[in-house]
Point group: C2
């Protein structure tokens, strides 16, 4: 496996564990599906393989989304934010993004909902 | 200032610095505007004041978005993800979300864009 492009790596502002936040958004509906974490290797694989790959903080290993569940995230686009500590991944999500079976990891726990009327 | 609701605080999985990731999304267009960070106090203010408040990692203090720039984020909704380490904030953004003047902090640095044809 080759390494992350040096010019990209130089723009990353990693946390104490070498990770940046990764927001997965369904490319056509705009739905935010989940937030995961990426180290340099995960971002490199995401950029070069067409499949979103995260770094699992609980298992401390690379985690190619969908390998176990079948709920693959195909990569449509990747953007880095202005201060280099987060990437936005436009994806095409197969099935549920959340391990609970929900489409999005943000479906279940609504802390606040304001009336827009 | 009163504290974050105990039942919400109990569901948060904070990082080593006591923070969770906060994704701000324009409520009507679905555009992801920025990723910031929140401690318990920032989340409490976001839930109770109608204005998105982050914790600034660089300044190590609460940062109510728009107080300096005028680029206020009005809170429309707040959701917590399945593992408690990220919140999704539906906002109504005044002006640019990014300090560079871009609408979104993800506008400027495109790492990958695939043809959807």
């Amino acid at each position: 496996m080759t390494a992350l492009d040096a010019s990209i790596a130089a723009r990353l502002k990693r946390d104490d564990h070498g990770l940046v936040a990764a927001v997965a958004q369904q490319y056509d509906t705009g739905e935010v599906l989940m937030v995961g974490w990426m180290d340099d290797a995960a971002l490199h694989q995401t950029l070069t393989t067409g499949r979103v790959t995260y770094f699992s903080r609980s298992r401390q290993e690379l985690w190619r989304k969908g390998d176990t569940s079948g709920h693959v995230q195909r990569v449509v686009g990747v953007r880095l934010d202005c201060d280099g500590d987060a990437v936005l991944i436009a994806v095409d999500q197969t099935g549920a993004a959340c391990h609970t079976g929900d489409r999005s990891c943000f479906d279940a726990d609504v802390l606040l909902a304001r009336d827009q009327g």
